[in-house]
């Protein structure tokens, strides 16, 4: 009986591993995309784009590595600054931000750049 169970486990192992990989894959892909500065597809992404990116670019979000409490405080500060998010929208945004941009996520991949035109002498 035990031998049969072991044989069954062996037979099922590749399928279980594949299933585990399927389940794990989205999180892994998201982490990579996050380090590259992408905003993952989610109903709250549209909210972040509409309520946060009025005044600043996406890096202000994607470079942060914060706890849920810190995201809560940040969203509240931005609402005081003028972000037109309702209570419900703010709640959805905090959940989205705290789900992806966490303290254990590796830093945003930095981008090398020439100086912006108004900041350097014209050669």
């Amino acid at each position: 009986m035990i031998r049969d169970l072991a044989r069954l486990a062996l037979l099922l192992a590749p399928a279980l591993a594949a299933l585990a990989a399927e389940t794990a894959a989205p999180a892994k892909e998201s982490a990579q995309a996050l380090v590259e500065g992408q905003l993952p597809d989610d109903p709250a992404r549209t909210l972040v784009q509409a309520k946060c990116l009025l005044c600043h670019s996406g890096e202000y979000v994607t470079m942060q590595r914060l706890t849920e409490k810190q995201w809560q405080a940040t969203v509240e500060k931005m609402r005081k600054f003028g972000s037109p998010a309702s209570d419900e929208e703010a709640k959805a945004m905090v959940a989205y931000l705290a789900r992806y941009w966490t303290p254990d996520l590796p830093p945003l991949r930095p981008v090398l750049s020439p100086p912006p035109p108004g900041s350097a002498p014209r050669k």
């Binding site: 020439p114 100086p115 900041s119």
Partner: protein
């Protein structure tokens, strides 16, 4: 799906390889001398290799903005000085150009330089080491303008603002303040030039405040409004913004508002410019070069360690010493095969030295923990 994942893994491995090879972007590539932290507002920090010379070239100098760069019509621009003064002033750029001009060499450093290295993390622009630079600033002494305006006896603070404005009216404007004693200091300038050339639009044209030795948030650009006051300002970016604990708390722990004070001087700091994390070197002698500075004190010594901080050896300092500028340090390192953590530690003329780890604070300010670079020496 499988193919997509394979492609994804391949690109991930390529990215990981790139990341391991150049984790801190040691050197510029072509004219790409800056690391972009955010596109809007524009926040860019210098690459490490910038920090091998006393004066930082303008095109390699960091940029820090709260809002979009204002479009200033210099012909119509005026500097207004008012408040508790006998004679309010309205000055044009030619008015300022006609006054006596002085030059002061001083480091401009964002108070948040090093924020991205604090643990636990704090919100804000995640600067590493490059939100600093040293320039020669030329302009009119603020004390000369104040002498013309004649502040009244109870004048205690100077509150000021530049031409930049937030996108939304509900966002606080960038208003800062310094005490009158610093405003009247002979080295505090209304600067018209940076490294001998008129200020460029993103650098604060037509004039910016230069507050030598003090945090960069005091150095307001496109300066247009200056008010002499008796009371301490309450503008957001002065209170509660840009504050530092009176006494350090536990990392991550909140600090009551009444225990926070405005920042003034920047603290002693050094950064190695000639090497960066992940560099691979051949055995032999390598000239290590970096810069050190400290608020208003000037640098006394810089020491280097190659064994994780167990032993320290003095580096040579280029002269002359200046109170507010970068001091270049050099160390001829005889490198043998192995893995090394190279550290530099500066001590200023007042005896202050860099700590092992910067003092954590809720704003992520004034991180002057010892700079460390990990390299491999291989035959």
């Amino acid at each position: 799906m499988t193919l997509d994942r394979r492609r994804f893994l391949q690109s991930s491995l390529a990215t990981a390889g790139w990341w391991l090879c150049t984790p801190s972007l040691a050197r510029a590539s072509g004219k790409a001398h800056l690391i972009r932290r955010s596109e809007r507002p524009m926040n860019y920090e210098s690459v490490r290799s910038t920090f091998t010379t006393r004066i930082t070239p303008v095109d390699r100098f960091y940029l820090r903005n709260h809002f979009d760069i204002p479009k200033v019509d210099v012909a119509r621009w005026r500097l207004n000085l008012h408040g508790l003064v006998e004679k309010p002033l309205t000055l044009s750029l030619p008015d300022l150009q006609r006054m006596p001009q002085v030059t002061v060499e001083a480091v401009l450093q964002c108070a948040g330089n090093g924020r991205g290295l604090f643990r636990p993390q704090v919100p804000g622009v995640q600067w590493q080491f490059g939100a600093m630079g040293n320039a020669e600033w030329t302009g009119v002494r603020l004390q000369d303008l104040l002498a013309l305006a004649r502040p009244k006896e109870d004048a205690a603070f100077l509150q000021y603002q530049g031409a930049e404005r937030p996108t939304m009216d509900t966002t606080p404007q960038f208003i800062r303040a310094i005490p009158m004693a610093k405003a009247r200091h002979a080295d505090t300038l209304v600067a018209l030039k940076m490294n001998g050339k008129p200020l460029l639009p993103d650098r604060g044209a037509p004039v910016r405040l230069v507050v030598p030795g003090w945090v960069g948030d005091d150095w307001v650009r496109y300066l247009s409004d200056v008010e002499v006051r008796a009371d301490e300002p309450k503008a957001f970016y002065y209170n509660p913004g840009y504050r530092y604990p009176l006494t350090p708390g536990a990392p991550g722990a909140p600090i009551p508002a009444d225990q926070m004070k405005p920042m003034t001087k920047v603290n002693v700091k050094s950064v190695l410019g000639s090497l960066s994390d992940g560099d691979r070197l051949r055995p032999g002698t390598h000239q290590l070069v970096g810069v050190a500075f400290s608020g208003e004190a000037g640098i006394d010594r810089v020491e280097m360690s190659f064994d994780g901080g167990k032993s320290w050896t003095a580096a040579a300092l280029d002269g002359p010493a200046t109170p507010y500028g970068f001091r270049v340090f050099r160390f001829p390192w005889k490198a043998e095969a192995g893995s090394y953590e190279i550290a530099c530690r500066a001590t200023d003329a007042a005896g202050a030295s860099q700590p092992e780890v910067g003092v954590w604070n809720p704003g992520g300010y004034l991180n002057n923990g010892i700079d460390r670079v990990r390299v491999e020496v291989r035959t």
